[in-house]
Symmetry: C2
Subunit: 307 residues, 2 copies
């Protein structure tokens, strides 16, 4: 088992969907990544920042999942990052109602000394310079995984390109891959992104699954067809956390093992959307997770007989 460093937001979310509405609840990329990775009992550390308004009980909960929180800075006189959003009826698009950066505006991440030798680094969606700073603090990581979004392409493209040049895996959604490369074909877009640095490109297509590209190989992981998506918040981070957590757990960074890692990420994401925020991940048992992995197997396996 390898150690895992997770950087990303730890935040408050307020969510509105056609099914209901929440007050400020626990959210943030690093939170979902950490909770997903913790399903594999990895030795993971969260590097993030919160304000004095952040409940100690949340931090204790993260620690109780085996996550090191010594790199979670608490600014006692500051306020925690807050995001509020409202999903449309089809659950595929949303409006951001509030984004308060608060303490995140001055976040200078510090990787705890005893995690600088971690093999796996999961860079959750954040300012590219924060992501770069984390990479620079690491001794000699074997696998650096980057998640990012179109906001950084629009506003800090040069910094983002520096990060992209320094990671092994990038996870990105289909529209973002097209924006980053100005190519419509995802196959061509992935090839162009590989030329930018990463050996592995994961393109997330939401309800349409995910593609993994490496050299001239490609793997397709379906999303589980669901009757209902209750709340998509955190699904992408949960996917990334399951992916990174499975790889850290197994210490095998081959293309073959990444296929299984993606299926594990997809399985965890399929749970995440069943309830608000982190609720479903917190009550998830390994038996349920194993059953869902079998569902993914049944969903995609077939025999070919050459006729």
């Amino acid at each position: 088992m390898s150690k895992l460093v997770i950087v990303g937001t730890v935040a408050f979310d307020a969510i509105e969907t056609p099914f209901g509405k929440t007050d400020k609840i626990l959210g943030g990329a690093a939170t979902f990544i950490g909770l997903a990775a913790s399903q594999f009992d990895v030795d993971g550390a969260i590097v993030s920042i919160v304000g004095g308004d952040f409940p100690k009980s949340y931090i204790e909960m993260l620690a109780s999942k085996g996550l090191d929180v010594s790199g979670l800075e608490i600014v006692e006189d500051g306020k925690t990052f807050f995001w509020a959003g409202k999903y449309h009826n089809d659950m595929n698009s949303r409006d951001t109602l509030v984004t308060e950066l608060n303490v995140l505006a001055n976040f200078d991440p510090v990787v705890p000394k005893n995690y600088r030798d971690s093999e796996v680094v999961m860079l959750g969606n954040l300012h590219p310079l924060v992501q770069l700073s984390v990479i620079e603090q690491m001794d000699d990581p074997k696998l650096v995984i980057l998640d990012t979004m179109n906001f950084w392409m629009d506003n800090t493209l040069e910094d983002l390109q520096k990060v992209i040049a320094n990671v092994d895996v990038i996870t990105i959604n289909d529209e973002e891959a097209r924006q980053l490369t100005a190519e419509y074909s995802l196959v061509v877009a992935a090839q162009k992104i590989i030329e930018m640095g990463p050996q592995f490109v994961v393109i997330k297509k939401g309800e349409h699954g995910a593609l993994l590209f490496h050299k001239d190989e490609v793997f397709f992981a379906p999303a589980l067809p669901l009757e209902e998506v209750f709340d998509p918040t955190g699904a992408g981070d949960t996917f990334a956390g399951g992916f990174a957590g499975y790889l850290a757990k197994t210490g095998d960074y081959s293309f073959e093992n990444m296929k299984t890692a993606i299926i594990n990420g997809s399985a965890l994401a399929s749970f995440c959307v069943e309830k608000f925020g982190t609720e479903r991940l917190l009550e998830l048992s390994s038996k349920e997770r194993h059953q869902r992995l079998q569902q993914f197997k049944n969903l995609t396996q077939f025999d070919i007989e050459l006729t």
Copy 2:
């Protein structure tokens, strides 16, 4: 091996894509279905209608593929159905420029006597009453497969519902499934369609693959990620023809075998889009087809190790 009846248009298409433009070339649902099914050396009959302007060489070509053309009516003083369309840059949407029904307006299909005992019937996209007439002429088919589209939902919904109640399998795209059931979730939509009659529902998602629903089971077939789609015309019909042809060839109508049938349909559709119209299907070798089936296998197979 079972006999297969194919009903659908045999037509002229004029196609414009970002890559080029054709004059009137061979097209039509029954044409693509027949050419796809003929890859499996099935004993298939095309039931359709053309005008005196339809080249005899096209009919000879279909016959040379082992397709019975005695049910292909020729109206010497009539004109063949003609469709012209233009694809947008993303190849996912198109404008219909011309639709001339011509002889199709008075099409009264006659299934050749020696094909009324066929086990498999593939109803290509056509007026629901024409499709019903074909079903009624059959002795006791084991598998009736229906392809249809939103045009018939908009204009002849009651007739379409009668057909749906009398088929075993329906193939339909995602937006049409939503329209037919007024449900956004494809899982719920498929369940509602199963209640309307068919035991098996295939929902086509274009570049995102296809889903097969049966009772409480579901199978997902990916589309092959392509660098370039040259011309999508006929891809859906080719998919249906490959699906029906494989099932007729094997005579096995189980859910398990339908998974393989869908992969075969997807593989043939992935060839269809590589060139204009029927061009790529006509030059396709079984070796190429087998290689592509292996690509689909590589694309989707993974190991799970429960951690």
